[in-house]
Assembly symmetry: C2
């Protein structure tokens, strides 16, 4: 992969990379299309990264379908599918990890303590392997997007990071490889994540400024569904992820949440500018 990247670079090609864990859906494909608009050659990486899963999480059952991924990625304009095996990425005696302090410790990082260490480490590795000019990540993983941008800036990676918007099903459910875990009743209840985000946005638009009230209302919306259980709801600064208790005009806030629907953990978020 490095030799191919060198050859592409030496002939003046601009490389775009879209790191994924595979089981591609329309969200991933939208990122590939964005990469294609911003690069000559798009490399899609397809690697279920073990270091970002905790032992009790779903690494072993995470859905995988490489032939389907290859077909979908190519259809969206990807030129190269990079699918390393786990041992090649983490050989015997692997010892090096990256950490982004502070912003990795809240929200998803609080719920999943070693998650972002694994994420930023594998992203740095994939950058060094694919040597991109531009990298595209999804807003669905909002905190990951912030961390990757911070890591790229701090470690002087010479890479433009683009964040693509969330792609949703027609009923508002954010696309996720994990949606495949949902039973049909859970699938129906799962729309409540986006509904609660919309309710928060409407409240803010109508003038609500107390985050406690907004969060309570989101909890109420979600708990009306039998299979849905809130893990967290957060209203935070969209760059620093510092939680707000009260909103003021001009603030840019990330409203985000994690909800267990049955046994499946789903996340979603919305960016709101306080009028």
């Amino acid at each position: 992969m490095q030799r191919l990247a060198d050859r592409l670079r030496s002939t003046g090609k601009r490389i775009g990379v879209v790191p994924t864990m595979g089981y591609l859906h329309e969200g991933h494909l939208s990122l590939i299309r964005i990469a294609k608009k911003n690069a000559d050659i798009v490399i899609t990486t397809d690697f279920v990264n073990p270091t970002q899963f905790a032992p009790q999480e779903d690494f072993s059952t995470y859905p995988r379908d490489l032939p389907r991924d290859a077909r979908l990625a190519e259809g969206a304009g990807s030129d190269v599918l990079f699918t390393p095996d786990t041992h090649a990425m983490y050989p015997e005696n692997y010892l090096t990890f990256l950490d982004v302090e502070q912003i990795a410790d809240v929200l998803e990082g609080k719920a999943r303590p070693a998650h972002f260490r694994g994420v930023v480490t594998v992203v740095a590795k994939l950058f060094n392997i694919t040597k991109p000019h531009v990298a595209v990540f999804g807003q669905k993983d909002a905190q990951q997007a912030i961390l990757v941008k911070q890591m790229v800036r701090d470690l002087n990676f010479d890479i433009d990071v683009i964040i693509g918007p969330i792609v949703r099903e027609s009923d508002g459910l954010a696309m996720s490889s994990r949606n495949v875990y949902l039973s049909s009743s859970e699938r129906a209840d799962a729309t409540v994540l986006f509904q609660s985000l919309i309710s928060a946005e409407e409240s803010i638009r109508k003038g609500e400024r107390q985050c406690g009230n907004i969060i309570k209302q989101m909890h109420d919306v979600i708990s009306a569904r039998y299979t849905a259980h809130v893990e967290y709801v957060s209203i935070a600064d969209s760059l620093t992820l510092r939680e707000y208790s009260q909103l003021n005009p001009g603030m840019h806030v990330l409203v985000s949440l994690a909800v267990r629907v049955g046994r499946t953990r789903l996340i979603d978020n919305i960016l709101v500018s306080v009028p």
Copy 2:
């Protein structure tokens, strides 16, 4: 610097980098000469990296002489001297650090807890800034050399790491920018680091296999000097840095030590193959 590196790479030039903290001496110059043999263009980086110093250490007093460094580096064959300022390397809200587990926690890492976190972080940054094909480090900082090689392997940096041998004064003292701190009596006593290493090598050659005996003998050699105080003496595997209590034929060991000579902390080491 990144644009210059891109231009050099696009014209097929091989880039060698020699990361230093400046105040160059013959040891650094030997590394520049090695880089020149292994690359078309040599970039010497000259940056006293604050994140590898603890608050009570000598960051503020570390010797600096940029005009002299520029002259010496050029004389040894360096083509580019890269001297970033501290704020450019660590802007406001800097949050990202690298860690190499296990091998960073012993020897120098035990004596200087955040030292190697700072070292591997700045080396990763300098790699991303200078985009080298080959990087040259000195064996003087033996543990640093091992850590950098591990980090390069683990994070898939596409860089060949070369370790240059220790350059010594005629009386055996390893060259170090910190030697300038020594008074004339301390300078005389400072030869004891190398003398103790030679005594260890001779003992091993003559058949001594108990590390406790070798270490005791080194302590005795060093404590005969009034201004010298041992911080640690170690006999460890040359790759894993696991300490040995007994030697066996065929082992490759790193005999290393840190000694305070007056108020100056010096380190030295020797690689020994057990016959």
